[in-house]
């Protein structure tokens, strides 16, 4: 690699000892002991990963096993996006986020299952079968990064990479009882992330704890000249060891907004109760909790499901049988394109390509796509106005329900609504995260923080304080290895 592609120099990363004590051998022991193969969390495994030499490295993550969502390009394993159209495809280059993990000494043990091309909220839309939630195998792990979330929740790895377009890290983190972080748009390079909706896509991280997720984020963050949307801003310590002198009130001076639109009257009262308990805990830690309003929240799902499919219809045009993966036999070029794509794409991808092509087509562009972009601007302005009013963070539920059963949501729009509290952060480009805050019927409930652009350290500091305060009552998935 040219030196122009070297990561931004970072300060010394504080790596939690919990990461360094979980070895590749532990990962495989956990995999076999807990029948992780039955979860269908991985699409490919590198059982020889221990022989790559990484274990002898001295990097911050030397010898730490990690799992990578299968839409991030890797040199050593296939990158299929859980689609038949990319079956067996091995990338000739590696995603910047993956390369930075490897350069820190991490060992990539496998690529994880996902909704095809990251289109879904359950990881049921994989061409290779659904992933199951390790906490209840009759339920989904969430999506689209469900395989990575399941790998962490099952204890195989303590950190994993996922990706987000509308909540695909936070929602599965909530369903699996772990921590999931979506950084500011541009904080982490998208180079090597297979494009779904380019203006919304982010590489995100999963961790068993806030500190582990913060460490992983700090390593993959930073400017990358190979991604023109990568932000050329310094990478600060993501989780400062101590940011306030008052140990009893570590969040003193912090203002946490509670947006009323994220607590509708029909919200499951048990989820609302856990959020209220978390907010009370934040107040006990010294934060001021203030009710705020983001009035365009109800418009986020319609806006998202116009913009994302529109961008997807363009990005997925490259899968035509001529460039990548599978090719169908046909008598002429056009038929080859059409047969390859109709056989290679699953139902949800086909539906979104058709929807996206429709809203971009002549006669409908102004009514749908152009209007959705304008409403996206309104949503972004509302976030900016709330943060400009002195609010440092927002706190909300991550999802309206705990993990649902496999096959329970058959109506596409009903499935889309599971991202109702997460899509706004992607539309506005702000960082957001989910962490466990309690249990409902034995299933984890996620609480969500959102922050101004590039304010990840503030968000992670509050999350770490809340995690410590809630302790075992948060309902985090246990790491068993």
């Amino acid at each position: 690699m040219s030196e122009t592609n070297s990561p931004t120099p970072m300060h010394e990363t504080a790596i939690p000892s919990s990461l360094r004590t979980h070895t590749v051998a532990d990962a495989w022991q956990c995999f076999d002991r807990n029948d992780v193969a039955g979860l269908n969390a991985f699409l490919s495994l590198d059982r020889d990963a221990t022989t790559t030499g990484a274990l002898t490295g001295t990097g911050a993550l030397a010898g730490v096993p990690v799992a990578i969502k299968d839409n991030l390009a890797t040199l050593t394993l296939p990158t299929t996006c859980a689609s038949r159209i990319l079956e067996g495809y091995v990338s000739p280059f590696e995603a910047t986020a993956v390369r930075r993990l490897r350069e820190a000494g991490a060992v990539v043990i496998g690529k994880t299952n996902m909704d095809e091309f990251a289109m879904g909220s359950s990881t049921e839309n994989s061409a290779y079968g659904p992933t199951r939630n390790p906490l209840d195998r009759d339920r989904v792990p969430g999506g689209s990064s469900g395989g990575s979330a399941a790998a962490v929740a099952a204890g195989v790895v303590r950190i994993a990479l996922g990706s987000e377009t509308g909540g695909s890290v936070r929602q599965p983190a909530a369903f699996c009882g772990i921590v999931g972080v979506k950084p500011t748009y541009g904080r982490v390079s998208r180079y090597g992330l297979v494009a779904y909706a380019s203006s919304l896509d982010n590489v995100g991280v999963f961790g068993s704890t806030v500190a582990e997720a913060a460490a992983a984020l700090e390593i993959i963050a930073g400017h990358d000249p190979l991604d023109s949307t990568s932000a050329d801003v310094p990478v600060p310590p993501m989780l400062p060891a101590r940011a306030h002198d008052d140990v009893a009130k570590p969040l003193s001076g912090l203002v946490v907004g509670k947006p009323r639109e994220y607590f509708p009257a029909n919200l499951d009262p048990r989820i609302a109760s856990h959020c209220e308990r978390a907010l009370a805990q934040l107040a006990a830690l010294g934060a001021e909790v203030r009710e705020v309003s983001l009035p365009s929240t109800d418009l986020a799902i319609p806006v998202y499901y116009i913009i994302a499919p529109a961008e997807a219809s363009s990005n997925l045009a490259r899968y035509d049988g001529a460039r990548y993966g599978a090719r169908a036999e046909a008598g002429d070029l056009r038929s080859m394109y059409e047969r390859t794509r109709s056989r290679g794409f699953g139902d949800e991808v086909t539906r979104r390509i058709l929807l996206g092509t429709y809203v971009l087509s002549a006669g409908y562009y102004d009514a749908y796509y152009k209007r959705a972009q304008a409403v996206r601007t309104l949503i972004t302005r509302e976030f900016a106005d709330v943060f400009a009013s002195g609010v440092h963070l927002l706190f909300t539920p991550t999802t309206p329900t705990p993990a649902f059963r496999l096959g329970e949501l058959s109506d596409p729009y009903e499935m889309y609504l599971s991202d109702i509290f997460t899509v706004t952060a992607n539309l506005a480009g702000v960082p957001a995260m989910s962490q466990p805050i309690g249990l409902v019927d034995g299933l984890p409930v996620g609480g969500q923080f959102m922050a101004p652009h590039f304010a990840e350290p503030t968000m992670l500091r509050a999350a770490a304080a809340l995690e410590a305060a809630l302790g075992a009552t948060a309902g985090a998935a246990g790491v068993t290895a």
């Binding site: 690699m1 040219s2 592609n5 040199l75 000739p92 280059f93 541009g186 000249p225 190979l226 023109s228 949307t229 932000a231 050329d232 365009s296 109800d298 418009l299 319609p302 499901y305 116009i306 045009a317 035509d320 090719r327 046909a330 008598g331 002429d332 070029l333 056009r334 080859m336 394109y337 059409e338 047969r339 794509r341 109709s342 794409f345 086909t350 539906r351 390509i353 058709l354 929807l355 092509t357 429709y358 087509s361 409908y364 009514a367 749908y368 152009k370 209007r371 959705a372 972009q373 304008a374 409403v375 601007t377 309104l378 972004t380 302005r381 900016a384 109506d411 596409p412 729009y413 889309y416």
Partner: protein, 107 residues
């Protein structure tokens, strides 16, 4: 606005997707069901609202050749090569037009 079967056929053509006729009625229903939820956007006053927030314009990068990200030899990208050229699967239509029998059998 509602989607018709002809709309689905037209959009599928634009998107280079071959659809079985039997699938079209279900797709019409699904797309209309989804688009019905989008109608709420028609009630929003967006006059004068820009399509992109002023502070979120895409950043520009220097107009310079980026680093070469390809780490493998070009021979490793193709199933076979001959005389420095990639051998790729042959389209049936090309074969019918008299392409030599030993060309493009690498797939």
């Amino acid at each position: 606005m509602s989607v018709t079967p002809d709309d689905v056929r037209h959009v599928a053509t634009l998107a280079r997707l071959g659809l079985d006729e039997q699938r079209i009625p279900a797709l019409v229903g699904e797309l209309n069901g989804i688009l019905a939820h989008m109608d709420v956007l028609q009630q929003v006053d967006v006059s004068g609202v820009p399509l992109t927030p002023p502070d979120q314009a895409a950043p520009l990068r220097p107009d310079a050749r980026p680093a070469d990200a390809l780490q493998r030899t070009r021979e490793s990208f193709a199933p076979a090569m001959r005389d420095g050229f990639f051998l790729v699967p042959r389209l049936t239509t090309h074969g019918a037009q008299g392409a030599s029998a030993d060309e493009g059998d690498a797939a």
